[in-house]
């Protein structure tokens, strides 16, 4: 269904951007194999990213509502 397709697109977008950002932050000098330190970095990075997503998501919705109420958009 189209609703499921939209949800999948949303999850894919999140996974892609998470992967790209955490790859950049955790592997500045990629070594030949992935160690436990790397795994920990990816897990912490993922949690930081999700927290950022939550903060910005709440602020964005709030801001848009204020702008609509003020007639700015």
């Amino acid at each position: 269904t189209i609703v499921r397709e939209i949800a999948t697109a949303n999850v894919n977008e999140l996974v892609n951007r998470l992967t790209e950002n955490c790859f950049e932050l955790c592997f500045t000098n990629p070594s030949s194999s992935m160690g436990s330190k790397d795994k920990k970095c990816i897990e912490q990075c993922m949690q930081k990213y999700m927290k950022s997503w939550n903060i910005l998501s709440q602020s964005y919705v709030k801001r848009i509502q204020e702008a609509k109420a003020a007639g700015d958009i």
């Binding site: 949303n10 932050l25 970095c41 950022s52 997503w53 903060i55 910005l56 801001r63």
Partner: protein, 65 residues
């Protein structure tokens, strides 16, 4: 017709989510420079907030000009 309204609402929700993905990506790149904890420190939180606010200010200014 109700189906149309439902789909429109879903599409609009999806556009909002795609915008949030874009802003999170952009502001995370600007504000989070190293990973040594799973929490955002206060400087990172402040930076994320300011990043979004000024980005939306810019967007609203441009649309209004």
């Amino acid at each position: 017709q109700e189906v149309a309204r439902f789909l429109e609402a879903e599409t609009s929700k999806s556009k909002v989510q795609m915008s949030i993905h874009q802003y999170t990506d952009m502001c995370f790149k600007k504000c989070v420079k190293k990973i040594d904890s799973s929490d955002l420190n206060s400087g990172e939180q402040q930076c994320l907030q300011t990043c979004l606010d000024r980005f939306l200010d810019t967007n609203i200014s441009i649309v209004k000009l």
